[in-house]
């Protein structure tokens, strides 16, 4: 079991994409800018402690919108901003007398500002980049009984490496976060493989993406699933993805075993 877990960590760490707007790959040109809107639905079906279901039938459902923007000052230097808005979050918790307590959340999440610094390389038939990204997270509202977002100041650094050929994409990345408060430190890692295709007037990609998330309270989650990206006309880009939590271990009582669905559209100029 230990060997299996180490293998999973290893595989998860093997990936790590910077996860930037727009669709992570643009704008690569100086003076380029863009914005995108993502709708995300999360459904976590179980209340977990460790890997065990603490109480059956207590779930968490979240609908949220992500507003994201990017400006490329020079091709090596970008500024990104991500602002989530929770449309509707609802979780079921045990009320202590055999029933369930329903809690709800709504409103702005934490503002995430990043400054990805990129070093591009161009080889014959292959192009890619190395990324170093300092980040800060700024809470926009006060804490409550149930907060889907942390609502704590945080600082993070991210590293990424990605490259592609005419047909294939490969990306790895990781980010470390610490917070000013009770929230435990976090590590996010990702591993993405993609196949690029062309249509008559445009292009797109099909990905298989794996994300690993670990917290300092022994929580760890491994999610994986497909994603589809399409370039409509160089200005408008869309992306759809789904991920399932194949491994979910919660260090404190929390919901898990989730499915994540995300659909987004972006504009780049």
């Amino acid at each position: 079991m230990r060997r299996f877990f180490l293998l999973l960590i290893f595989l998860a760490a093997f990936s790590a994409r910077a996860d930037d707007p727009i669709m992570n790959m643009m704008p690569r040109w100086s003076g380029g800018w863009g914005y995108q809107v993502h709708y995300e639905h999360i459904n976590e079906s179980d209340l977990l402690l460790g890997s065990n279901k603490l109480v059956k039938g207590l779930s968490e459902r979240v609908n949220l919108v992500h507003l994201e923007g990017v400006y490329t000052w020079k091709k090596e230097f970008r500024i990104t901003a991500k602002l989530p808005y929770v449309l509707d979050a609802e979780r079921e918790m045990p009320d202590g007398v055999g029933g369930k307590l329903i809690q709800k959340d709504r409103g702005w999440g934490d503002l995430n500002l990043g400054v990805p610094l990129k070093k591009y390389f161009n080889l014959d038939g292959k192009s890619g980049s190395w990324t170093f990204k300092p980040m800060v997270r700024i809470p926009l509202s006060n804490k409550d009984d149930y907060d889907f977002y942390y609502k704590e100041f945080g600082g993070g650094i991210g590293f990424g490496h990605e490259f592609e050929t005419a047909n294939y994409f490969f990306g790895i990345g990781t980010a470390w976060w610490i917070f000013d408060g009770d929230r435990p430190a976090e590590i996010h890692s990702s591993l993405d493989f993609g196949y690029n295709f062309e249509t008559k007037n445009s292009n797109g990609s099909v990905f298989w993406e794996t994300d690993f998330h670990a917290e300092d309270d022994e929580s760890r989650t491994l999610g994986s699933g497909p994603a589809f990206y399409f370039n409509h006309n160089d200005t408008i880009h869309s992306r759809i993805e789904w991920k399932h939590d194949f491994i979910d271990h919660q260090g404190i009582i929390d919901h898990g075993n989730g499915n994540h669905f995300k659909i987004g559209i972006g504009w780049v100029f």
Partner: protein, 165 residues
């Protein structure tokens, strides 16, 4: 407001964190060797030169460029944006006057009658878009010649005799 970050010291204390860091560092280095498409047929010079000759034989009033690393059409949108703004580009042809082939890394620029592109501006616009302008191809006496670009925008003419079947 005081920022405490009480978990700072725990980042590298955790076994998971340390192992993840080592794994990522190792695999990031190894990843450079994955899918090194140097042997990919389309990326071979003789294939690119054959494709260049074919394009030049079929089309008139074009400038045909080899941009090293141009393999991702979405990443290279900046190439189209930058080059289509140049004086002399016929934006009615292709897509805004620019056709990009990620398989051969060739970029075809449609030109208006009698127009030509300024080498210095061309180099700067390609570099600004994140790529490297290596050569421009021309047909001379039914032979393919390449104008190799240097950093100062001067060019060196190279005669190519490669053929590819």
């Amino acid at each position: 407001m005081e920022l405490k970050f009480p978990h700072l010291c725990l980042i590298f204390d955790s076994m998971i964190s340390r192992f993840t860091f080592v794994a990522i560092a190792t695999l990031t280095l190894l990843s450079s060797f994955v899918w090194a498409d140097d042997d990919k047929e389309e990326a071979r010079p003789e294939v690119r030169l054959a494709a260049a000759k074919e394009v030049l034989m079929e089309s008139a009033n074009i400038s045909l460029l080899y941009l090293r690393g141009l393999v991702c059409p979405s990443c290279a949108i900046g190439v189209r944006k930058n080059l289509s703004k140049m004086e002399g580009v016929d934006k009615k042809r292709f897509k805004d006057g620019i056709d990009m082939n990620p398989e051969t890394q060739l970029v075809t620029v449609a030109l208006k009658d009698g127009a030509s592109l300024d080498n210095k501006e061309l180099l700067e616009r390609v570099e600004d878009a994140g790529y490297v302008l290596v050569e421009e191809y021309i047909i001379h006496d039914n032979h393919l010649d390449a104008l190799q670009f240097k950093q100062d925008a001067s060019v060196r003419i190279v005669h190519h005799n490669h053929t590819h079947k």
